[in-house]
């Protein structure tokens, strides 16, 4: 009898403890949006009191917003967004549960969270990922933008880009714009007497010859960006849609592939690339060569000056030019991958108007300026005409853009081929294979 009583007691204790655990889990699920929020928000907050209020507020009810961001709280972008959120809360009394998820966190976690019905009012990420991968979760913002007269101070080109990737309608608002182009060391250009930036492949060839002659490395790159050079050259020759078609369809016999490989093999033979280009694992090329002043040019995004500013020093003067046009090619220097991070509102959000108001705080006026200054980035608000000095050189390039390429100008459109293109293009630039060897390797890999 005693034993039976003890057994029953133990069983009940176990059942209760399990129930208790289950209850806890349920509660967590209910406020899914907030598990890590208080710590993260508090860490990031320049003004702790408002973030504390945000952390304590229930997620997603009428008087609060839940915002998932791709940044880390410690990054300049995170700090500017936190400041905008704090001001928004102070002005409107609407608390914001701001969660910095980081790039991987939002990439892996946003869609499952939305599918699970987590209450997220707004989120941000790259323009293409938001509009393409997560397109089904986005609210149409045309009406909200119109009501707020948002476009009066927005960058028209970027708004057009958002509409283009949004299937003809506005589903996201751009901030922190960027453009992909050649960045160069102005001091080296001045020293060797290059007075105008290369607009054609022949001019780039001539500029490289002068730089090489003066004892510098004309072009360097890292493994992470090497496929961009292939993509841009291909797209200059045949346009981006055709490049994507070739890459996806494995049409390696297309003459443009050989022409691209020959152009780069020629540059490699002339010694225009860094001696270590075949072994530069990011960020070796940008840090140890470009920023250190031994290499002159690097094809990269407008975030590059910010990334290497501590190594390059205050006296480093940046220059920027669009990837040159090539003989007989379809695209000119007015085409590149330009875009932005974008903010979007969940189509199921009950707080769309407030969410849009918060978007205006982040992407316009004071906080757009702050974001631009802290991250040395391009302002999104056309009233913020003053660009950070380090990237002032990017303005003419950005303003000249008419055609928008996706990332790497289509070179990375086929995930099964990207590493193979990367391997063989590194070898091509390093001089260990020739143009035919490059084409043969791609053909051999198939798909």
């Amino acid at each position: 009898m005693k034993k039976k009583g003890l057994a029953l007691f133990l069983a009940s204790a176990m059942a209760f403890s399990l129930t208790a655990c289950g209850g806890g889990g349920g509660q967590t699920a209910e406020t899914t949006a907030a598990p890590a929020a208080p710590a993260e928000t508090t860490t990031a907050a320049p003004a702790g009191d408002t973030s504390q209020a945000a952390a304590e507020a229930p997620a997603g009810d009428g008087g609060s917003l839940v915002y998932w961001s791709m940044w880390e709280a410690t990054e300049p972008q995170g700090q500017a967004i936190q400041a905008a959120v704090d001001k928004f809360t102070a002005d409107t009394g609407i608390s914001v549960d701001l969660q910095f998820k980081g790039r991987t966190g939002i990439r892996e976690g946003l869609q499952p969270a939305l599918d699970a019905g987590t209450n997220i009012d707004l989120f941000d990420e790259d323009i293409d990922r938001v509009n393409t991968t997560w397109g089904q979760y986005l609210m149409d913002l045309e009406e909200l933008a119109k009501a707020a007269d948002y476009e009066a101070t927005a960058n028209a080109g970027l708004m057009a880009a958002c509409r283009e990737v949004g299937g003809g309608t506005l589903k996201s608002i751009p901030y922190q714009p960027n453009v992909f182009a050649f960045f160069y060391n102005q001091a080296i250009f001045d020293e060797v007497g290059i007075t105008s930036v290369p607009a054609t492949w022949a001019e780039l060839d001539a500029a490289c010859a002068k730089i090489k002659e003066a004892g510098y490395t004309p072009i360097t790159c890292d493994d992470a960006y090497i496929t961009c050079m292939f993509g841009y050259h291909m797209s200059r020759l045949v346009g981006e849609p055709k490049t994507e078609e070739i890459v996806k369809g494995g049409q390696w016999d297309d003459p443009s592939v050989t022409a691209t490989a020959e152009a780069y093999a020629d540059f490699a033979a002339k010694g225009y690339f860094s001696e270590t280009i075949a072994s530069n694992v990011w960020p070796a090329g940008q840090n140890q060569e470009l920023a250190m002043g031994t290499a002159a040019m690097y094809l990269n995004g407008s975030w590059l000056p910010n990334e290497v500013k501590d190594m390059a020093g205050d006296d480093f003067v940046w220059g920027c030019f669009s990837y040159p046009a090539v003989d007989g090619g379809t695209d000119g220097v007015d085409a590149a991958n330009y875009g932005a991070q974008v903010l979007a509102i969940n189509k199921d959000s009950q707080n769309a108007e407030n969410a849009f108001k918060l978007i205006c705080y982040i992407t316009q006026g004071e906080f757009d300026k702050m974001l631009s200054e802290l991250s040395i980035g391009i302002p999104a608000d056309s009233n913020n005409t003053e660009w950070p000095a380090l990237i002032a050189c990017v303005k003419p390039v950005m303003d000249s853009m008419k055609t928008r390429y996706p990332w790497a100008a289509g070179a990375e459109a086929n995930a099964d081929m990207t590493p193979i293109i990367k391997e063989n293009f590194l070898k091509l630039c390093g001089g260990s294979i020739d143009a035919q060897g490059f084409v043969d390797a791609l053909k051999k890999a198939g798909n």
Partner: protein, 301 residues
């Protein structure tokens, strides 16, 4: 008996239910997913498109996936031989009664407590640097100019560079397991063998190794499981886009589920699930082989 049955059920039920929910359900779901085309990993079942074995046939026909499996095999086999040999050697030395045993053990284990990100940065940006790297400096000072010129991170050497960096961090962990196994063996056997005239090598060959069979099995299984899950080091050695010399099936799976690099690429979680199924089969096969080749139940000590 009846009363006991009720008790058994009552006590077992929670464990069985939790096991089913946490282990069995994901396994079954993953196996089912591998026969479907699924865009997003959390897409509702209504969106799944049945494709039969096409995920598996596609994997077999994709050269990049075959490359990733080849890399995994190389990591498991070559890395395994290096790590197990060094770990066993160090374990034998550490347990042989040398002075400063704790110090050496701590030093060899140290890389395990350093973040992989920090370790990889050290190897990539310092040790292997063709400009001022440790290897370049050492070989230059030794007068080995051809070795000093080697670019350790180019396509021809990147796999070896990755493997060396990875093994460096793994030896200590497996050494500890071997060392604990050796310390379990009574010193009586070694004393008796010494009295019988056996030298150190013979003691190792005929006493230590046979009595470590179970530990070998543990180490090989652990190594296999970590090898199959090889991901972080691969990512660190090829940021943003994958690399033919460092890609592993886990990286390929990630690309299929969450997209590759900065581009918006086609996603198929069903294909990712198929990779998961294949990797599980690999681990089970290795585990089965180990159990059959390394029988340790014939010895008691």
């Amino acid at each position: 008996m009846k009363r006991n049955k009720g008790m058994i059920i009552l006590f077992l039920a929670p464990a069985v239910l939790i096991f089913s929910a946490i282990f069995l359900y994901p396994i079954v779901r993953t196996v089912i997913m591998s026969f479907f085309r699924i865009d997003g990993i959390t897409d509702p079942v209504s969106k799944w498109q049945f494709t039969g074995l096409s995920n598996f046939t596609k994997l077999a026909g994709t050269s990049l996936f075959r490359i990733s499996m080849w890399n995994l095999l190389r990591i498991w086999l070559i890395g395994g031989i290096i790590v197990m040999s060094l770990a066993l050697l160090f374990a034998v030395i550490i347990t042989s009664g040398i002075r400063f045993k704790s110090f050496f053990r701590a030093v060899i284990y140290l890389p395990n407590i350093v973040s992989a990100v920090a370790l990889a940065t050290m190897w990539l940006q310092y040790v292997y640097s063709p400009k001022f790297g440790l290897l370049k400096t050492v070989f230059t000072n030794l007068g080995l100019t051809s070795l000093a010129k080697v670019q350790w991170l180019d396509n021809d050497h990147k796999f070896a560079a990755l493997l060396l960096a990875y093994c460096f961090g793994m030896v200590g962990y497996h050494m500890l397991i071997f060392a604990s196994g050796i310390e379990r063996i009574s010193s009586d056997y070694f004393e008796a063998a010494t009295l019988d005239g056996a030298n150190k090598f013979n003691q190792f060959r005929y006493i230590t190794v046979p009595l470590l069979k179970g530990v070998f099995k543990t180490n090989i299984t652990m190594w296999s499981v970590t090898s199959v899950g090889f991901f972080v080091w691969s990512q660190l050695f090829s940021t943003v886009t994958a690399d033919t010399q460092t890609i592993t099936p886990m990286v390929y799976m990630y690309m299929q589920i969450f997209g590759a690099g900065n581009s918006i690429t086609e996603r198929n979680s069903g294909l990712g699930a198929a990779i998961g199924v294949l990797l599980s089969i690999c681990v089970v096969a290795i585990f089965w082989l180990c159990n059959h080749l390394l029988k340790d139940d014939d010895l008691e000590f």
